[in-house]
């Protein structure tokens, strides 16, 4: 009887472990979530609470909804509790298009002089989409403050990657970087309608060399500005 019970427990133990193993074949799913948690913790440490940003944004602007007419959005309500993330839909029109009051990028300028001190290039670590240091935070705050004080100023934020990553994926990563900067600017109080994004992926390196120094220069977000008169 004692032996039977012991064997039964052993069998039950195997069944439980087998179930655990099946969970573990999706281990990279769990790792991904874990990595995501660490990244979010780092972001909060650098940038402060997202709740503060959300509150500021909500009181200042009415966001253009991601469920607007121009596309049919997923109804991913099931994720809202699991992830706290603030995303901001793009402005309805793109500069240079027929229905836009803004010209194309050819009329946007690289900031010079005093403006170059405001609109500094923001840099990233490898595979990351949050700016890498506290200097970047200062830049984001200055840019946001400038945009708030100058409602006729419109900007393009470009997202760029270094040469090492895959080409197509880097186009998507560049998109994430420029949207990350845009989100931070909006959380600092900038008007979403003043900020447009462009991803260049790794198509337009600032430094064409292929070494660590060049890679660091190429993982960047840059600004171009246009003042509407």
């Amino acid at each position: 009887m004692k032996k039977s019970v012991t064997l039964l427990v052993a069998c039950l133990g195997c069944l439980v472990l087998d179930g655990c193993k099946k969970e573990n074949t999706g281990v990279w799913d769990d790792s991904g979530s874990t990595i995501g948690m660490f990244k979010r913790a780092k972001e909060r440490a650098l940038w402060g609470s997202e709740d503060t940003g959300r509150e500021t944004f909500a009181t200042t602007f009415t966001s253009s909804s991601a469920k607007d007419d121009d596309f049919i959005a997923l109804q991913d309500d099931d994720l809202k509790e699991q992830f706290s993330e603030l995303v901001f839909a793009q402005p309805k029109t793109s500069p240079g298009e027929d229905d836009s009051l803004l010209p194309g990028i050819g009329k946007f300028q690289v900031p010079t002089g005093a403006l170059a001190q405001v609109f500094k290039t923001v840099y990233f670590n490898t595979d990351e989409y949050s700016p890498k240091d506290a200097d970047s935070k200062a830049t984001i705050q200055k840019v946001a403050a400038y945009l708030k004080a100058n409602p006729s100023t419109f900007i393009f934020v470009t997202g760029n990657c270094d040469q090492r990553g895959p080409e197509g994926y880097n186009q998507a990563l560049g998109l994430r970087r420029c949207n990350s900067i845009r989100s931070m600017l909006i959380r600092e109080g900038a008007n979403p309608e003043q900020i447009h994004t462009i991803s260049y992926g790794k198509e337009k390196p600032a430094d064409p060399r292929n070494n660590a120094e060049a890679w660091a220069k190429n993982r960047r977000a840059e600004f171009k500005i246009f003042v509407k008169k």
Binding site: D18, A66, L74, A89, T93, I105, E167, K204
Partner: protein, 443 residues
């Protein structure tokens, strides 16, 4: 007795799947066809009458020799004086080949006769008037190669198919520009399809259909700033925007049925996957539909299954970029994406084969990006390429056997073609400038 019980319990644990959770031995295989290459003897182009210089005729001969060397079915043995004599004397069994092609240019007209040696069969092909313009005559010879291929194998060849790609270089002001260009499958006859002096990349060939044989393609243009997707006919000077949605649109793909396009877009503020219906002829489009979005992740590089019902795409939602498959027509809730690539990190740029059996993609292997395929029937990932150079953006030929891709290192980015049964990929582009994002078009 208690010790035996404990031992049995331990054995149960040891035998449990927990301890069997070790990765299987990796098996490297090459894409293999069922048949090996058959030799086809190709004669020297024999001139008679008032014709072109011998150097020109040699160039024409090279076209046919290339088409039959790399078509995946045949190999071209060296010409010898003895074999040329045997061919003229019609002693074909002495050629040591399964097939033979004899070429004669008489008064600027090319005459071609092909032989199925083992079956004692021969076929004369329609005469071809040569123009003396190598680019024009190349096109005619590629069509001839396909006609001969069809006669030999009763299936369509790829010699007259085209490859589109992005060509990046610096302009006179030192700014990066990129245009869409097209070449023959051997890399020759390069023609510019866009000349915006802007930044155009990611060409996608729109499949032809009965009654609609206009050569249309999609591409991404940055001419106004944000990348947008355009459609263009090869004969037109400007393209027309096909996706009318806020934000950036990139990395387009089109279904084989040519009724919908997939693309990546940040309209919502995230890097999401969208699908939109499209009629390439009328330009009529539907409302774009967000079909995959995941917080704090990027989606990229969609490719349709041949039946148009599924999309394979790249996502980094679980850490490193992997390739997943979802329905191309999901409901309003995010679908659970089925993971395809498990062996390697950084799996990107999937391309579904026209016959639906395989997915070609790039995966970081030992620190270098190599071309892999996923075999849906076997459920296996197989490495195709080896050696230096980061290889990406594979695109299948219409025969689902050949693959074109770009390979990049510090000094170059060029296109290569993988042919079945050939040990090495063949480089088809040359010269300065970055050639990438190839798209293999139909014949």
């Amino acid at each position: 007795m208690d010790r035996i019980t404990l031992l049995l319990s331990a054995l149960f644990f040891l035998g449990s799947p927990l301890f069997a959770n070790e990765p299987p031995q990796e098996i490297r295989v090459r894409l293999e066809t069922e048949s090996s290459l058959s030799p086809v003897y190709i004669s020297e182009v024999e001139p008679t009458g008032d014709t072109f210089p011998s150097s020109y005729l040699k160039e024409l001969e090279k076209v046919i020799r290339y088409d039959f060397q790399y078509n995946g079915k045949t190999t071209v043995p060296e010409k010898t004086a003895e074999k040329e004599r045997e061919l003229k004397l019609m002693r074909l069994s002495s050629l040591g080949s399964v097939y033979a092609i004899s070429l004669l240019v008489k008064n600027k007209t090319l005459h071609c006769k092909a032989f199925l040696i083992q079956k004692n069969a021969a076929k004369n092909f329609p005469e071809i008037s040569l123009t003396g313009s190598l680019s024009e005559d190349r096109k005619k010879l590629h069509l001839l190669s396909d006609a001969i291929y069809k006669a030999f194998f009763e299936s369509d060849g790829i010699a007259s198919s085209k490859i589109l790609y992005s060509f990046q270089k610096k302009d006179t002001l030192g700014q990066w520009i990129s245009e869409i260009v097209e070449s023959d499958w051997d890399g020759e006859n390069v023609t510019y399809l866009t000349q915006d002096s802007s930044y155009s990349i990611n060409p996608v060939v729109i499949p032809k259909d009965r009654g609609f044989d206009k050569d249309l393609f999609l591409y991404v243009s940055y001419k106004n700033g944000q990348p947008k997707i355009f459609i263009k006919s090869k004969g037109e000077s400007t393209g027309k925007k096909v996706v009318d949605i806020r934000g950036n649109q990139m990395l387009p793909a089109i279904s084989k049925q040519r009724d919908k396009i997939a693309f990546v877009c940040d309209a919502s503020g995230r890097t999401d996957l969208f699908v939109q219906s499209l009629n390439p002829e009328t330009g009529e489009t539907g409302t774009p539909k967000q079909i995959f979005s995941y917080p704090r992740s990027s989606q990229g590089s969609p490719t349709f299954s041949p039946d148009g019902l599924k999309i394979a795409f790249v996502s980094d939602k679980d850490g490193a970029p992997r390739i997943y498959v979802i329905s191309s027509e999901p409901g309003r809730k995010r679908e659970t994406a089925r993971i395809i690539t498990k062996k390697n990190k950084e799996n990107t740029c999937p391309c579904w084969s026209p016959d639906g059996t395989k997915l070609a993609y790039s995966a970081k292997t030992g620190g270098i990006r190599q071309i892999w395929i996923y075999d849906f029937a076997a459920g296996e990932e197989k490495q195709l390429t080896y050696g230096p150079g980061n290889k990406e953006n594979p695109s299948w030929a219409p025969n689902s056997l050949h693959i074109v891709f770009n390979s990049t290192d510090d000094n170059y980015s060029d296109l290569y073609v993988l042919s079945p049964e050939q040990p090495n990929a063949v480089k088809i582009t040359k010269g300065p400038g970055k050639k990438h994002y190839p798209a293999w078009g139909p014949r």
